[in-house]
């Protein structure tokens, strides 16, 4: 057991940190947030140049053969900069699904393009009635000759409007909440019958409601086993959750640093407000929340690679619980300790709080993961 990052990992982290510090400041971010697509082609191309888009994929697929720990390092830096590029949706969740569930031909067709920055993905997993349950799928996929016809409504698809390809979970058999009968499909976003309604999310990103009306797909679009995709879907989701936990830790670190700096500089009653014990102790609790979260993000990034599914589920759910609770506690305290400035949209602090709140409700909130933690005992 060791906590040492390799030279390559430290270089990856440092170069990304430098890049974000220089090119992705609060003003630059605000401009990107207000653009039509909600992300920057220029930044995305530079991410591709830096090799960030293929960190976790095999070299045979254009990647760098890294592990979930490498993804963790990248996500922590993206969290520190509250970067709103579609990294999570395309590289981590979308690409992760293709990487884990896809055939060799599918990986060859998709992953190298993702690595080059030429293809954006979005995972259409949720539905209006599914809440956080991946097994709750009402969207249907009926056999049609050699292929399938998809019908249904996929909800809050992250970066769904800008994606070139969608990964859709649909039911090929069974009833709405049954574990068996779920299949995954790789769907061209331009296919006839794909209706996309894009919108902003409160953390500055984008999402979409996607309706599938008699969308025809070929047999080669099936990703993973027919009727039995739930286990691989859960595995990919766990990988994505571990990445979100890492992102949250970066956001917590930055938010804490901003808050502690504010406590040192803001003067009231003739002295810095950080000299008051009532605030000092709350600051310490924020720091402890961050350190406990970091420990769980580390643990999740290692155990998500475990072959033991129960160990993987338990650890990842535990990490998401910790991050959900700590993220909320830190966010609320950060806003409070910033006083009136904390509720101003012109300060970065509130934007970190927004992102942390949305991380909590992405791929399962605290309650959801408490349930899952107990059932994986």
């Amino acid at each position: 057991m060791d906590f040492i990052f390799s030279d390559e990992q430290q270089q990856l982290r440092d170069s990304l940190q430098r890049y974000i510090g220089k090119e992705y400041g609060f003003e630059a971010r605000t401009a990107i947030m207000g653009s039509k697509s909600g992300y920057s082609d220029k930044v995305w191309a530079q991410f591709a140049d830096m090799g960030l888009l293929g960190v976790a994929y095999a070299e045979a697929h254009g990647g760098f053969g890294g592990t979930a720990v490498d993804t963790m390092l990248v996500m922590t830096e993206l969290g520190r900069g509250i970067v709103i590029e579609p990294y999570f949706s395309t590289v981590v969740l979308g690409g992760g699904l293709v990487d884990l569930a896809g055939s060799e031909a599918q990986k060859q067709a998709v992953l190298p393009k993702v690595v080059e920055g030429k293809l954006l993905l979005a995972a259409a997993l949720g539905e209006p009635n599914s809440r956080h349950e991946l097994n709750c799928v009402e969207t249907s996929a009926k056999r049609d000759g050699a292929g399938f016809v998809l019908n249904g409504h996929k909800a809050v698809v992250l970066h769904g409007a800008s994606a070139n390809q969608l990964i859709v979970s649909a039911r090929t058999a069974g009833s709405a909440r049954e574990a068996k009968g779920i299949s995954l499909f790789l769907v061209d976003a331009n296919s006839a019958g794909v209706q996309v309604q894009g919108y902003r999310t409160i953390d500055g990103m984008r999402a979409a409601e996607i309706k599938l009306v008699n969308v025809k797909v070929g047999a080669d679009s099936v990703l993973g086993p027919v009727d039995a995709a739930l286990p691989v879907l859960e595995r990919a989701a766990d990988f994505a959750v571990s990445a979100l936990c890492a992102e949250a830790v970066g956001a917590m670190e930055a938010l804490n640093a901003a808050t502690f700096e504010y406590l040192k500089t803001r003067q009231q009653f003739g002295r810095p407000i950080g000299s008051f014990q009532a605030l000092q102790h709350r600051a310490v609790d924020m720091m402890i929340h961050c350190e406990q979260s970091r420990s769980m993000a580390y643990l999740a990034s290692v155990k998500v690679q475990s072959q033991d599914a129960n160990e993987r589920k338990r650890t990842v759910s535990a990490a998401k619980i910790q991050i959900g609770r700590s993220g909320r506690a830190i966010s609320q305290e950060a806003i409070q300790l910033h006083g009136g400035m904390g509720v101003s949209n012109e300060l970065a602090a509130g934007h970190y709080a927004k992102r942390l709140a949305m991380i909590n409700v992405t791929l399962g909130d605290v309650d959801h993961h408490c349930e899952r933690f107990a059932s994986a005992a």
Binding site: F3, L263, V284, A318
Partner: protein
């Protein structure tokens, strides 16, 4: 980074596990696991078993009889011992005063005291707190006046844990009242059998005799028992506190109590179903379990990051005691109305009366009240927050 244990670490865990399984006396483990009352001999017996194996002082340098284990090995050892129900190795001699003697003591002190600490020949107590000096420890008044080759000590110490068993006590005493309060303090080793020492029990909320007041009335202490220099006691005391805080996380023991809690919650019924399956109660357990998982990694990070624990160690004290207290609270709550019966006599190992209610009923509430001490002792959790605020956050 790799948080999986290596083959060597797994083999070491196996070795510790088998040793504890084969050598921890069953009667002692039984007491610890069921919160029965421990007597002096229980602690001493276990420490002597560890001493014989060479494992009683993992934190000591090899030259003094320590183990030269890596931080991970130390953690594995504490984890296995705590989980199996071994009594905690009494920290006052082995963990607290020994590093001070090793770093600042005279040749004679090292040669005389260290072997006796190692073999558990002497039972040590801590003489820090006074009635008027708790968190503001540097304001202490217990006075030592040099007369020839002796000090004459007058004053009072309090919260002397298990002082009723002690042969020796390390004390912070005031040797100079004319200088800044931190600079007039010295570190003195005092024989508890000296004439003029009186020990009076303080009974805690669980009606147990765990702590004492210790009175010093013209106690004669040889000057050779002064550690280091006169007036440097505060520096040594701060050095010692850093050593105390890492062990205070008590991860192994909390894992054991969590297991026990789950067993209790599986037996207790709510609406005819096991309490453990009640989502409200189950989630309360989950929250503590998750914090404990995180704390174990946080502890390993602190242990791995540097040779000597820094102010970050205060996190371990705060979080470790939060978790310990939460577990006692849940165990009491799990008992329902059977938390009420209070039978101190049932906590004696030789008591064979008719039990009232489930197995845990007799002690759950008592342990809950006993454990309120954890966030107060060893530097209250508020003092720990002050330390982090100043030393880490720079506020």
């Amino acid at each position: 980074m790799d948080l999986n244990y290596t083959k060597e670490e797994q083999a070491f865990r196996e070795e510790v596990h088998s040793f504890v399984r084969d050598n921890l006396p069953k009667d002692i483990a039984e007491k610890v696991l069921h919160h029965k009352r421990l007597v002096k001999d229980d602690w001493v017996r276990w420490q002597k078993i560890l001493y014989k194996k060479g494992w009683v002082a993992p934190n000591w340098p090899k030259e003094y009889g320590g183990c030269a284990w890596t931080p991970i090995q130390q953690h594995i050892f504490e984890d296995e011992c705590g989980y199996a129900g071994a009594p905690r190795v009494m920290p006052f001699g082995l963990v607290m005063v020994a590093p001070v003697i090793q770093n600042f003591g005279s040749k004679w002190q090292k040669e005389y005291f260290l072997p006796r600490i190692l073999s558990s020949e002497d039972w040590w107590a801590q003489g820090y707190s006074e009635p008027g000096s708790g968190s503001d420890l540097a304001s202490l008044k217990c006075k030592a006046v040099r007369e020839g080759d002796h000090y004459i000590v007058n004053g009072q110490k309090t919260w002397t844990t298990l002082g009723q068993h002690a042969d020796m006590i390390f004390c912070l005493v005031r040797t100079d009242s004319t200088v800044k309060k931190q600079e007039g303090i010295s570190f003195l080793l005092i024989d508890m059998h000296s004439p003029g020492i009186t020990v009076r029990p303080i009974i805690t909320l669980d009606e147990e005799h765990e702590v004492n007041e210790t009175f010093f009335d013209n106690v004669k202490v040889p000057a050779q028992n002064l550690v280091g220099e006169e007036g440097k006691g505060w520096t040594y005391a701060k050095f010692l506190l850093g050593h105390e805080r890492t062990g205070i996380a008590r991860v192994g023991e909390s894992k054991r109590e969590l297991e026990q809690l789950k067993k209790v919650a599986a037996k207790q019924l709510r609406n005819g179903k096991p309490l453990a399956e009640d989502p409200r109660f189950r989630d309360r357990i989950t929250m503590v379990e998750v914090e404990l998982m995180a704390l174990e990694i946080t502890l390993l990070r602190v242990l791995s990051s540097r040779s000597k624990p820094g102010p970050e160690a205060s996190i371990l004290k705060i979080k470790g005691t939060d978790i310990q207290q939460a577990l006692t609270e849940l165990t009491m709550d799990a008992m329902g109305p059977y938390a009420l019966p209070f039978r101190p006599e049932a906590r004696a190992a030789d008591w064979h009366g008719e039990p009232v209610g489930p197995e845990y009923a007799g002690s759950a509430a008592a342990v809950y009240f006993n454990y309120r001490k954890t966030s107060i002792y060893g530097g209250s959790n508020e003092i720990q927050r002050n330390i982090i605020s100043q030393m880490v956050l720079g506020l």
